[in-house]
Structure formats: structure tokens, C-alpha cells
């Protein structure tokens, strides 16, 4: 009975609340863009972008993320690799079978927890460990720079100290949920449910936080790639 309530809550009610808050947040953000659109309808001189556009965009998504010895993060290569690595692992984890199955099930029918039936492969565990390690290192870097009065102290906002730990909790609960299929099977439902709850808190928080860069950075990378293409830098 109690288990049934958990499933109903995490897979039926909570997703509805999550979707509502997410859409509300995205609408608020879009409104801000609309306001500026009103003030200036010209989109950054797009008409002057005449170079090899596709190559510019691809570079922006791939090559520009590779460490460059002559420039980007040349003095902080570790951070650069960890940061980019964390994003790659995050995307890989999102595309893992457990997540795809859960999302498909949520779309098809509300009451279903397919992850309970799914046994993750060891590779998924390795990815989870990498993700948690990268995030921990990023958090340590921010805290260290904050304490030692380095640039991150000046630019960090309260949100930065909420966002990274929240994502870390998402990673840790996910890892435990995955492990529970093999190690502590009796508590599996609670593990998976806690991960689902944290994930939905993360989704709700996204439009109001730096997590939103997951959406906007695509636009920014396209624009930046177009500009580099126009300049002939690709």
C-alpha cells in the first residue's frame, strides 16, 4: 500500500507539478527575451554572417570544447577537462537505457517504474562515478576560489552553491538507485523513488537557475560558430 503511494506520487502527481513549474519558468524567461526583442528587433547583425556556417557551428559544438594549449584555460587545464568531461558524461548518462526507458514509460503511462526491472551495466556505474567525481571537483574548485579570494568569489552567486550540490545529489541518488538493482534490492523502490524526486526538483529549478544554460547555450554556440565562420576563423 505504502509502496503504491510512493509510485503514484513520484510518477503521477510530481511530474505534473514539475511540468507546470518548468513551463512557467521558461515562459518567464522568454518574456524577458520578448521585452528586449521589443526594444531591438535586430538579431546581432546575422545578415553579415556569410562564412562556412555549418563548419563554424560544428566547430563551436566540438572543436572549441577541446583543450587548447595556446588559449582556453591554459593555466587551469584540469578544470577545463573536468568541466567538459562532466558535461559529456552527463549527456551519456541521460541517454542510458534506464533513463530512456523511464522517460518513455512516463510518456506512455503514468504508473510505471521500469528502472526497477532494469539492471544497469557496469559501464553505467563507471560513468556515474566519473560524473560524481567531476562535480565534486568542480564544487571544491568553486569553494576553494571563494575562500581564497580568487575570481570565482566575485562572480559566484548563491545559486551556484545550490545548483552544483543539487546536481551532485541527483548523481549520487542515481548511482545508488542503479546499484540497488544488485546490492540492496530490498530498498530498491525507495532508492529509485528518491532519485526521481530529486531529478524532478532539478527540472523544476532549471528555468530559474544556471541549469538553463543547457538550453540557451545551444543558441549561443550556434551564434558564436556563425560569427567565427564569418570571420574566417574556421
Amino acid at each position: 500500500m505504502f509502496e503504491g503511494q510512493i509510485i503514484t506520487f513520484t510518477n503521477t502527481m510530481l511530474p505534473l507539478i514539475t511540468i507546470f513549474i518548468f513551463i512557467y519558468g521558461v515562459a518567464l524567461r522568454s518574456l524577458r527575451w520578448f521585452m528586449v526583442w521589443k526594444a531591438s528587433p535586430i538579431l546581432g547583425g546575422l545578415k553579415s554572417y556569410k562564412g562556412r556556417r555549418l563548419k563554424g557551428i560544428l566547430n563551436s559544438f566540438i572543436l572549441d570544447h577541446l583543450p587548447s594549449y595556446s588559449l582556453a584555460a591554459k593555466k587551469d587545464m584540469a578544470f577545463y577537462i573536468i568541466g567538459v568531461g562532466m558535461h559529456i558524461v552527463f549527456i551519456a548518462l541521460l541517454l542510458s537505457k534506464a533513463h530512456i526507458d523511464t522517460m518513455l514509460a512516463l510518456l506512455k503511462q503514468y504508473i510505471a517504474v521500469p528502472t526497477i526491472l532494469y539492471v544497469p551495466k557496469p559501464f553505467t556505474h563507471i560513468l556515474s562515478i566519473m560524473f560524481i567525481s567531476c562535480l565534486t571537483l568542480m564544487l571544491i574548485r568553486r569553494v576553494y576560489q571563494y575562500v581564497t579570494d580568487k575570481p570565482l568569489r566575485a562572480i559566484s552567486s548563491t545559486g551556484d552553491f545550490i545548483a552544483v550540490p543539487l546536481l551532485l545529489i541527483v548523481g549520487v541518488t542515481g548511482f545508488i538507485a542503479a546499484l540497488s538493482s544488485q546490492l540492496f534490492t530490498d530498498y530498491r523502490l525507495y532508492m529509485v523513488a528518491s532519485h526521481l524526486v530529486v531529478v524532478q526538483v532539478f527540472i523544476m529549478y532549471t528555468p530559474f537557475s544556471k541549469f538553463f544554460h543547457g538550453i540557451t547555450s545551444v543558441i549561443v554556440m550556434v551564434l558564436s560558430g556563425l560569427k567565427k565562420a564569418a570571420l574566417g576563423g574556421v
Binding site: A39, I42, L71, A73, T216
Partner: protein
């Protein structure tokens, strides 16, 4: 003041960029000003944060309801020092993992500060000079360099193939660049001319933050140039090149002529045989890419092709050496966007860093293709007793072309 007035320079794409910054601090790793100054207010991402704070209330639901601006003037005054502690070199854009065009956002911030009247004191003089004399340096003497030449220059000749747009810095602060360019054009047998009523290209206005004036100057220059019915406009200044090629279209100022940097033209002349190199230089040369020409202008290979033709061909790898930070990733000279007017010591420190890079690779000559870079490096060389010669590319070419091409 209405919101629209304050926010009119801010584009939708820019507000998205503002919201995309995740405050990772990668920009501070590559910013020459922060690297040399180490002051927290120099961190590029901090300036984005400030802009966000300043416009926060305007770009909200309240802003939609009321047209009166809620721009936080107190925050704007506070941001002024940080906004002008920057050379607008654009390295933060290249250093940003996402590719946020921080430099353009800084221009927006400067335009708001300018409109509120909070620009730093040393720049108020520049503002006055620009308003009164249409250049940021001095009341008159824009054409004095012509009198020092031993040949005649066609002035305001209609229907010429090329118009040489001299630029304020070449004409006033380093006329040797203007003279060398004139000599090259003459040696190539070009049908060319100059204008006697040139105004600043507008880059000085953008650096100050007066976008309206930049647009007015751009429109006026284009009108005057088009009245001469020339095919091409050649510039010897990286700032002028960036303005004509990239900023004028952004300011919605369109023109019907082609814009070239002098290095592109020299490269063409050398390839066509219209210019021939007499004696070759046997000293080690390194080329410094001016930010406005390479990263922000797109001219990277042409100056190198020119230099390859004035050094011994067989062992060009020995005579033309690259500094570690080059091309799109070039390091700033420190003289851009009037930083030298506000923080002269910092400008020299940035230039010294670049000169040290040149020294480390054993360069005996540092060549640039921007008068501001040349002046800054020359000042730093004198101040720090560096054993390196500084030239603009046109000076080096003019010195070494054969008199009978």
C-alpha cells in the same frame, strides 16, 4: 529616461548570452587585463554579472508594464570602473567554453554608462576632442604628414580605384605608417586618393560607449567616400578595418565599395608582381596579430604571406617565428579601447608580457599591422629597455621594396 532608451543597444541574442553565463571563470584565465592587473573587477564574467544586475528590473514583468526605466543608476556608477578596465580585445569570447560574446556585452554596458554620464574622467577629454575635432587626439594636423612626403598625393580624386582611409592614429600619432602606405600605393602604380575631410571611423566612439555618435560618424564617412565614387577603401589601421568591415553593417550603415586591409592589398601586389622586394631581411621576425584585425577582423594569413616574401625564402621557418598565442588566440597589446588613457602602467605591463613572449622565441623584430599596437609596443620597449625592434608591416614593406618594380 525610458527603458527603451537604455536598452536599445541590447539585442535578444545578447540577453540570452547574459543568461547563459555559468560563472565558471574561464574568461578570467584568458583575459590579458586580469592576468596582469589581478584586480577582481577586471574579471570579464563579473562585468556580465553587473550588467545583469543593472538591467534586471527593466527586463522583467514590471518593465513590461511601465516604460520608465528602472535601470539601477547606483549600480551603473559602480560598474563604470570595471567596464572601462578592458581593452575590448575579445579574448574572453574565444576563451569562453560556450562562446559568449562578452566583448559586445561590454559595449552595451559602456553605452549605458555613457548615456548616464559616468564615463571615467580621462575619457571625458577624448569625448570632447571627438565632438569638436572628429578625432580622439588633437585639434588639427590630420594632413600634416602629407607635407613631409617628397611626392604629391592625389586628394579627393573622384573615380579613383582606391581610397586610402588613413585613420586618426596613423595620421596624427604615427604618421610614418601613413607615409609608408602612401609610398607603397605609389610604388605599385595604383590609381588612388585620400580624403581631406576624414572623420574618426567610429571605433573611438564605440570604445567610449556613444553608439549614436559612432553611427553618425559611420554614415558621414560612408557618404563622403561614396561621393568620391571609388571602388575600394584601404585601411592601415586594424580598428578602422573592424569598423568598416564588421561594425558598420551591425550599425545598419551599408556601403557600395569593397574594404581591404593594407596587408591584403600588399599581398595581392606582391603576387601580381606590382611590388617587388629588393633586399630581404635576415633578422628573426615575429608577427603580432592585432585583436581587431585577426580575432575580430578575420585577417590572419595575408600579413604572414607578406612577411614570408621579405625574408629569405629557403629558411622562412627560421626567420618568421610564431609567438605561442597567435592568430585568433592572439594576446592583446594593452592599448585598445583607451585603456592607456586610464591605466597607462597597466597597458605597458600587458605590452611587456607580449614582448617577453617575443623575446623568448628569439625574435629581433616584432611586426604588427595596427598603429595602436605599434605605439604601445614602442612605449613598452623604451620603458623596459627591451632589445627588440617594433615595426608596422607597411613600414617594413616600404623599407624593403625595390624602387623599380
Amino acid at each position: 529616461m525610458t527603458t527603451e532608451n537604455f536598452l536599445r543597444e541590447l539585442k535578444t541574442s545578447q540577453i540570452i548570452e547574459l543568461e547563459t553565463c555559468v560563472r565558471c571563470g574561464a574568461c578570467s584565465e584568458v583575459c590579458p587585463v586580469y592576468e596582469q592587473d589581478k584586480s577582481i573587477i577586471a574579471v570579464p564574467a563579473l562585468k556580465l554579472q553587473e550588467l545583469r544586475k543593472i538591467i534586471g528590473k527593466d527586463v522583467s514583468i514590471m518593465g513590461l508594464i511601465s516604460p520608465a526605466s528602472k535601470v539601477d543608476l547606483k549600480e551603473l556608477r559602480k560598474a563604470a570602473e570595471a567596464a572601462y578596465l578592458c581593452t575590448l580585445c575579445g579574448r574572453c569570447w574565444i576563451g569562453c567554453i560556450i562562446g559568449i560574446r562578452n566583448r559586445e556585452l561590454r559595449e552595451v554596458l559602456r553605452s549605458m554608462i555613457y548615456r548616464a554620464g559616468y564615463i571615467p574622467k580621462p575619457l571625458k577629454d577624448v569625448d570632447e576632442l571627438l565632438l569638436k575635432y572628429k578625432n580622439p587626439y588633437k585639434p588639427s594636423g590630420r594632413l600634416e604628414w602629407i607635407r613631409e612626403l617628397d611626392f604629391q598625393i592625389p586628394v579627393n580624386a573622384r573615380g579613383a580605384n582606391i581610397l586610402y582611409f588613413v585613420g586618426c592614429t596613423s595620421a596624427i600619432r604615427d604618421p610614418n605608417i601613413a607615409k609608408s602606405t602612401a609610398y607603397i600605393l605609389r610604388s605599385a602604380g595604383e590609381n588612388w586618393t585620400i580624403m581631406d575631410n576624414e572623420w574618426c571611423c567610429g571605433s573611438a566612439w564605440i570604445a567610449l560607449g556613444n553608439m549614436d555618435a559612432a553611427k553618425n560618424f559611420a554614415e558621414r564617412n560612408v557618404k563622403e567616400i561614396e561621393s568620391l565614387n571609388v571602388e575600394k577603401v584601404v585601411v592601415s589601421c586594424a580598428e578602422c578595418y573592424r569598423m568598416f568591415k564588421w561594425e558598420y553593417p551591425e550599425l545598419n550603415v551599408n556601403y557600395n565599395f569593397e574594404v581591404l586591409h593594407i596587408s591584403e592589398l600588399i599581398n595581392k601586389y606582391l603576387n601580381e608582381g606590382r611590388l617587388k622586394i629588393g633586399k630581404r631581411i635576415t633578422e628573426r621576425i615575429t608577427y603580432h596579430d592585432p585583436c581587431s584585425l585577426s580575432r575580430l577582423g578575420g585577417i590572419i594569413n595575408e600579413p604572414r604571406n607578406v612577411l614570408r616574401q621579405i625574408i629569405p625564402k629557403e629558411v622562412d621557418f627560421h626567420y618568421l617565428v610564431e609567438m605561442p598565442e597567435n592568430k585568433m588566440n592572439t594576446y592583446c597589446c594593452g592599448g585598445g579601447a583607451f585603456l592607456e588613457f586610464i591605466h597607462p602602467e597597466l597597458t605597458l605591463k600587458i605590452a611587456e608580457h607580449r614582448l617577453n613572449q617575443a623575446n623568448r622565441i628569439g625574435a629581433e623584430i616584432l611586426v604588427s599591422s595596427c598603429p595602436i599596437c605599434k605605439i604601445t609596443f614602442t612605449n613598452a620597449t623604451n620603458k623596459f629597455n627591451k632589445n627588440i625592434k617594433i615595426y608596422d608591416i607597411v613600414e617594413l614593406v616600404a623599407r624593403n621594396i625595390s624602387t623599380n618594380p
